[in-house]
């Protein structure tokens, strides 16, 4: 019977394919637009591009030297391209759109900082750019938070620093102090505010050294990173569209006609679930498979990602079946599905990385969301096998529960005479 139900629905789609094609193509288009807006590209280490900015050092102290040096060393060097200029030259280049921003370290910065006085760094952003200055601003906030934390926690070492700053010499002493302070910062790091821009999380696993003899982790790709989360959102919406067909079956009385032939409604609901799973799986194949082809990357674990996605598709379909069973009116159900999809996607981290959420949301709400299970496990698959199997099992179990509940609710609705 399931075969007959599925064949019927697919035949109906074939007769009127336009709405479905639009639904299938939309996620890909949006991913492309968003990816391009963020400067994404195939397989680059720094897919945002290096951010060029000027450092105007009016202090000329060892501490300012330290800040200047830190701006283009190590991992920061992958993303940042500081140039050291006089204020006027920097302002001129900013006007000519050659820089994203200008960071001014004011005169007296080091001595004021080390004596506990108020200091202020100055950031002038290029108004014609959106993303790079914003990223710099966020990074600067992190630096400021770090400096504040140091000031609060390492006050006892400041005389030594001040002495060093005033004597402007002994680099042995400087390196010793840096090491000493660095160790203390490391232990206090978890108390600092997390960065608002998730560079560290995005690039972290990529830069991890491969296990000896193991395969190197693939390079980070923004489209791949976004695709999984975007799929999490759009597959939910597509499932809503698929299961909305149950409303049409109800309004056309075909569901009722089926009920005149069979007492158990589960096969009919299951048939629609099967149809939706097929359609949404096609959507997933287009998004994840087509995205791979379109944006020039390769999924490192396609089988695992496929199975995880299939489990998610089943969950999304079950959830939407439940929504149709609960809300009798198609328009209201569509509205509910949209809101539900948006909320689940938002809290589940499909729109923004969960790292950027407030701590309560990140630690207590996000992990409850099936969208989070999918997006997180899907992203983890880029670098390692992670916990995809557990996530897939949870998603499949939840989907099964939803489908069963939907069938029971439909039966009750019929018995009450509500259509």
């Amino acid at each position: 019977m399931l075969e007959a139900l599925l064949a019927k629905d697919l035949r109906r789609v074939r007769r009127n394919p336009l709405p479905w094609m639009m639904n299938l193509a939309l996620p890909l288009v949006i991913t492309a637009v968003m990816g391009l807006a963020f400067g994404g590209g195939g397989g680059n280490d720094n897919s945002l591009g290096r951010i060029k900015f000027a450092v105007v050092d009016e202090d000329q102290s060892p501490l300012a030297d330290f800040l200047r040096g830190a701006a283009n060393q190590g991992k920061a060097g992958q993303y940042l391209e500081p140039v050291f200029l006089e204020r006027k030259a920097a302002e001129q280049q900013l006007k000519n759109d050659k820089l994203s921003a200008m960071l001014v370290i004011p005169a007296g910065f080091a001595s004021n900082y080390l004596t506990g006085g108020k200091v202020q760094l100055e950031l002038v952003k290029n108004p014609s750019e959106q993303i790079h200055p914003a990223v710099l601003e966020e990074l600067l906030e992190v630096v400021v938070s770090g400096l504040n934390a140091i000031s609060r926690n390492f006050n006892s070492e400041f005389p030594a620093w001040r002495e060093l700053a005033e004597s402007r010499g002994d680099y042995h002493q400087l390196s010793r102090l840096i090491e000493q302070t660095g160790n203390r910062i490391e232990t206090a790091r978890k108390y600092l505010f997390p960065p608002l821009v998730g560079y560290t999380n995005i690039a972290g696993p990529q830069s991890a050294a491969p296990a000896s003899g193991g395969k190197a982790a693939p390079k980070f790709n923004l489209f791949a990173y976004m695709s999984v989360a975007m799929a999490g959102m759009f597959l939910l919406m597509l499932a809503g569209q698929g299961m909305a067909d149950l409303h049409r079956e109800l309004s056309r009385r075909t569901f009722e006609r089926y009920h005149t032939l069979h007492e158990r409604l589960l096969p009919f609901v299951a048939g629609k679930v099967l149809f939706t799973v097929v359609i949404v799986s096609m959507g997933a194949a287009i998004m994840l498979g087509g995205g791979q082809w379109l944006f020039g990357f390769r999924w490192p674990r396609p089988l695992e990602l496929g199975l995880l996605t299939l489990a998610y598709v089943f969950f999304a379909t079950g959830l939407m079946a439940l929504s149709v069973a609960i809300v009798p009116d198609e328009h209201r159900a569509n509205a509910l599905n949209s809101v539900l999809s948006m909320i689940l996607s938002m809290i589940g981290g499909c729109m923004l990385p969960p790292d950027q959420f407030p701590a309560f949301m990140r630690e207590h709400l996000c992990p409850l969301m099936p969208t989070y299970w999918y997006a997180t496990a899907g992203r983890e698959l880029w670098w390692s096998e992670g916990s995809w199997l557990i996530s897939a099992a949870k998603l499949a179990a939840l989907g099964t529960l939803c489908v069963g509940l939907a069938a029971v609710l439909f039966k009750r609705r019929f018995e009450k005479g509500a259509r």
């Binding site: 139900l5 109906r12 009385r253 009722e256 006609r257 005149t260 032939l261 019929f414 018995e415």
Partner: protein, 308 residues
Amino acid sequence: MLKVSAISKAFGTVRAVDDVSFHLSAGEVYGLLGPNGAGKTTTISMVCGLLRPDAGEIFIEGKLFSANAGEAKRLMGVAPQELALYEELTGRENLEFWGRIAGLKAAEARKRAGELLEALSLTDRAKDAVKTYSGGMKRRINLGCALLHRPKLVLLDEPTAGIDPQARARILEFITGLRASGASILYTTHYLEEAETLCQRIGIIDHGKLLAEGTLSQLQELLGEGLVFTVEADFGESLPAQWEGFAAHFRVLQKSENQLVVAAVGRRDPSECLKELLALPVPLRNVSLKRPSLNDVFLQLTGRQLRE
């Protein structure tokens, strides 16, 4: 074949069906006649298991429906009043699909669909999408979809509602053939002629209550041994209740400004009745005698026209 015993169904404060009982023998056509909103569809919905009665029982082939719903449903074919079709699919695809759902194998469903298309005179449009069909053709396919699995009990809920006379005649012809094949049919309608033509027994239902049932002649006998007169006159302000001795001899079925339909009370001689009517204190234009129709019976029982 079917026994309905004192079933009731209420939706909130509205009693859609109130203590309705009837039975349907094998090979019989039973008509449930009543105006829109009388409770016909609710009754049929309970019989086919779409609705659960608040009270009462339904038996199919002697077995309690609620205890054997799955088995009972396999014996039934239901053509709902509202079209229950996939408009994007062709007529043949609709028939084959419902055949598969009714439990037929693909090849068998294909064969039966062909037979039904032929019987419903739709073979030449079999490959067209249902959305391109006329109202009458959709009704025929809707009917056909209920019959793929050769049900023993066929429930037809107003199968001719809202279609033109020609299409109606085709459907009635098809149902006559179905009756000849030996199927038991529960037929709801608000068309008197259909009930008179097709049904061996008729139940008259209004406001959820079964008011009377029986064969056509049994129902006619409810009205003054079969004597019904139509009196045409200018009645003006004059009321039958004011006419001396009238109420003792005649029962008013319907009254308008220029027409009065009355049934003779008791076993009466037609010429005697005619004499009494000609002596009425109003200027008469015409008096005619007729066999009481179902409409007269319905008027007598409910005080309103069937199509009101």
